[in-house]
């Protein structure tokens, strides 16, 4: 049963109720106010009608508490009851609404889940952003973001900083034209303008300047960046690095220039001919050779440069060449001709080199005008022929002369013998019929003929020396001297000459001729002796590739002015009465020495004797030990410049001034002993020290 009457109220009880109700009312007004504020701000919050229902229900509750508080002064129970009814309706309405949204509310995630989801999402976004940044920074292309209005760079990727070898700060914040080569200032300004106006640019070729003089050739593509539907005012640019391509292009260009320069300045005419046989390229020399200006020549078939009669053959040759292209020379074995524009021809040599041109085969032809060379060759051949002719003529005339000398000497003997014979018969059988004077004349006639006989014999031996054709052999000069001294034994004995022979070498030569040489020289030394006891020395020294011989005596000597004359044929310095002789001995010596490829001369002080010096090659020249005969060498020697006498002077200067000490053999009087000499090299060393 309800207790419709209240108990005893104290003031305290009353104020407890009043204050509490007012506080509740205040709170119940504040809550909807806060909710309204929240809802106004978070329009995305779901279930907003529910919030409204809550608001009404709480306000209604608040009003109920306010009426309860005022009940102690105005007992409005009906009003209070009405408000409670309203509150109850609002509350149940809220309950109904809550029940209605409960499934949806149950489906809503909890806050922790939400947080977790949010965190995951944030991390995912971070990861993606990292990926994008990574992609941006390390993209193979260089990226930069630029403000087209002033060209200022806002952002760039690492690919660009790496490529330019510049820190990011040196790029971002600077104006794009400042990074470019001054040469492309126009292009960059135009590109920025177009970017601002059209929103995009493509394939703008720029050269960027990096750190350390680094140059970067790039192709720039730019696109204005948008923010939502709005233009951001910035442009993203992708830069493709084409530095290596440009370098390759430059290399090709430079190589082409070099090729053209090589072609242009070649000392021969150069033609580049394509596979169809058309002239593609030619040089200045080609213009000069063929008389075609380049502009007219290019495009013409190469046959226009070939004489009419060779054209058909040339087409075949060319086709063969392109079938098996390899470098080849033409005109070396056969005569080729070029044809000038005016139709005149000139001899050429052609070098062909296949090259690849635009995936097709072409040929570089180097054409040399050999007119002058052909002329020179002809001249040389002519000269050689004439030289050969004169050499043959000379040889023949030499041979003829030898034969004439031989035959003449031989045939002269017979009439001479007749003259001498009959004169002597006259003396023998008819002297009684002749007076003293006639007998004297006859005697002189006989003397004359006998002298003539001696001269003819001399000529004969001279001719015979030239006719001998023994090939040179290795000759032991020491042995040869020994033999020649034996030949002269009688003279040596008679003159009581003291002869010293040094160590002598072996060398290539004709032993018989060398024997005669020494015999003549020693014979001369004995013949032209003075009143002093005769001393003769024979010595040899090596100078480089020659042996220098010296036959020295202390005889009457030879005046300086006659030293060349004595080697001439039939030249005599003395009357026959004093020194009989033919005047042929030294001529023979000269012939022998020169036939051996050597030289002979005489030196010495007047009245102090003579030193006959001669040098002979130490080694065989040309084919060793099989050299032709002396006379032939002599005749060739007259055609060629001989080594000058300076060599002789030098040899003389180096030769010992006094007769060399006897190193080996002493030949005195008839006693001719020969001992082996000392070692040649030691002997030579000893003397040159």
């Amino acid at each position: 049963m309800p207790r419709w009457k209240c108990g005893a109220w104290s003031t305290a009880h009353g104020w407890l109720h009043i204050v509490s109700d007012l506080a509740i009312f205040g709170a119940y007004v504040a809550i909807p106010a806060v909710l309204i504020g929240f809802m106004r701000r978070r329009r995305d919050v779901p279930f907003s009608p529910l919030f409204w229902a809550f608001g009404v229900f709480i306000i209604a509750c608040g009003i109920g508490h306010l009426i309860d508080a005022t009940m102690f002064w105005q007992p409005r129970y009906r009003l209070s009851g009405f408000v409670k009814v309203v509150t109850a309706i609002a509350s149940w309405g809220t309950v109904a609404a809550l029940i209605k949204v409960l499934p949806q509310a149950l489906a809503l995630p909890g806050l922790a889940t939400l947080n977790h989801q949010l965190r995951t999402e944030v991390e995912e976004r971070k990861r993606l952003e990292g990926q994008y940044r990574e992609l941006y920074e390390n993209s193979p292309a260089c990226y930069l973001t630029v403000d087209p209005a002033d060209g200022r760079i806002v952002m760039c990727n690492r690919t660009l900083t790496d490529a330019l070898e510049l820190p990011r700060e040196a790029i971002v914040g600077r104006r794009l034209p400042e990074l470019c080569d001054p040469g492309c200032g126009g292009a960059i300004r135009e590109a920025l303008d177009r970017l601002a106006a059209n929103g995009s640019v493509h394939d703008v070729e720029l050269t960027l300047l990096g750190g350390g003089g680094n140059r970067l050739d790039v192709l720039l593509d730019g696109l204005q960046l948008a923010e939502g539907d709005e233009a951001s005012g910035l442009a993203g640019c992708a830069l493709r690095n084409i530095t290596s391509r440009k370098a390759a292009e430059r290399a090709i260009r430079s190589s082409e220039q070099r090729f053209q320069a090589v072609i242009e300045y070649a000392p021969t005419a150069m033609l580049l001919v394509d596979a169809r046989g058309r002239i593609v390229l030619s040089n200045e020399k080609a213009e000069e050779y063929f008389g075609w200006p380049r502009s007219e020549l290019h495009g013409q078939p190469v046959e226009v440069l070939i004489p009419e009669r060779f054209r058909a053959a040339h087409r075949v040759h060319m086709s063969n060449f392109f079938q098996s292209p390899r470098p080849r020379a033409m005109g070396l074995t056969m005569d080729l001709y070029g044809c000038r524009r005016d139709g005149t021809e000139f001899p050429v040599e052609v070098g062909l080199n296949p090259i690849e041109m635009n995936d097709d085969l072409a040929v570089v032809a180097a054409v040399q005008d050999v007119t002058k060379r052909r002329q020179d060759e002809a001249d040389l051949a002519d000269f050689t022929r004439r030289l050969q002719q004169s050499a043959e003529d000379l040889e023949r005339s030499h041979r003829d002369l030898e034969q004439i000398a031989y035959a003449a000497s031989h045939d002269l003997q017979e009439p001479l013998r007749a003259v001498a014979g009959y004169c002597q018969l006259l003396q023998l059988e008819h002297s009684h019929m002749l007076g003293g004077e006639a007998a004297d004349y006859l005697r002189k006639a006989v003397d004359g003929t006998l002298r003539m006989h001696t001269l003819i014999n001399g000529l004969l031996s001279y001719a015979r020396m030239q006719r001998s054709s023994e090939p040179f052999a290795t000759v032991d000069v020491g042995a040869v001297v020994h033999e020649s001294l034996q030949d002269l034994t009688a003279m040596i004995q008679e003159s009581r000459a003291s002869i010293r022979v040094g160590t002598l070498p072996t060398l290539p030569g004709d032993a018989a001729q060398l024997r005669q040489l020494f015999q003549n020289l020693v014979g001369n030394a004995i013949k032209y002796r003075s009143d002093r006891p005769l001393e003769i020395s024979i010595a040899a020294e090596r100078f480089d590739d020659e042996w220098s011989f010296c036959v020295a005596d202390n005889g009457i000597g030879i005046p300086a002015e006659s030293r060349e004359q004595i080697f001439m044929i039939f030249q005599r310095l003395h009357t026959r009465d004093r020194y009989p002789g033919t005047g042929l001995g030294l001529t023979l010596c000269k012939r022998i020495v020169e036939g051996h490829g050597g030289r002979i001369w005489v030196e010495g002080d007047a009245d102090a004797g003579s030193r006959f010096r001669f040098v002979l090659p130490a080694e065989a020249e040309g084919e060793p030990a099989s050299r032709g005969r002396g006379a032939r060498r002599g005749s060739l020697g007259e055609l060629m410049p001989r080594r000058t006498v300076n060599m002789g002077v030098e040899a003389m200067a180096m030769a010992p001034r006094s007769p060399p000490r006897a190193a080996g053999v002493d030949v005195e009087g008839s006693r001719a002993e020969r001992r082996e000499g000392v070692d040649w090299n030691q002997s030579l060393d000893g003397k040159s020290n």
Partner: protein
């Protein structure tokens, strides 16, 4: 001076184209003490004709003096013919010539010349040579019959 026991007259054939040389040779023989007859022919052809047909006026020679350089057929060819012939090979042949050329000397001896003598220009020497020849071939050496 004494003649051979059988008083044999030596027959000498001189093959010489030079009249003067022939005369001087004849002179030299005339000075000899042995009886000898000098037959003279002027070249190789005459020489071979002489040798092929011996007769009373052209007796077989005991010695042939042969010049080398002659027209028609020279002494070298004659020497070869004689030394090739079995009938004539036993006749001594002395080459008597102007040539002192070594080749000629060697060739003559290779062709079996019995001696090689260079004619001296001096007449006295020439006489001596002929006298020596006479002495050697007619007194010292034994000849084939």
């Amino acid at each position: 001076m004494s003649l051979g026991a059988d008083e044999r007259v030596f027959q000498v054939l001189l093959v010489e184209d030079s009249p003067s040389d022939a005369e001087l040779t004849r002179k030299a023989f005339s000075r000899l003490r042995l009886p000898s007859v000098l037959h003279h022919v002027h070249d190789g052809v005459e020489c071979m004709a002489y040798l092929e047909r011996p007769s009373a006026t052209q007796p077989r020679p005991d010695l042939i003096l042969l010049d080398l350089n002659m027209p028609r057929m020279d002494g070298r060819a004659v020497l070869r013919e004689i030394k090739k012939s079995p009938d004539l090979v036993s006749i001594p042949v002395v080459v008597l010539t102007t040539s002192a050329d070594g080749t000629d000397v060697v060739e003559a001896y290779r062709s079996h010349s019995n001696a090689y003598i260079v004619k001296p220009v001096d007449l006295n020497q020439f006489f001596d040579v002929i006298a020596d020849l006479e002495r050697f071939w007619f007194r010292v050496a034994t000849l084939a019959d």
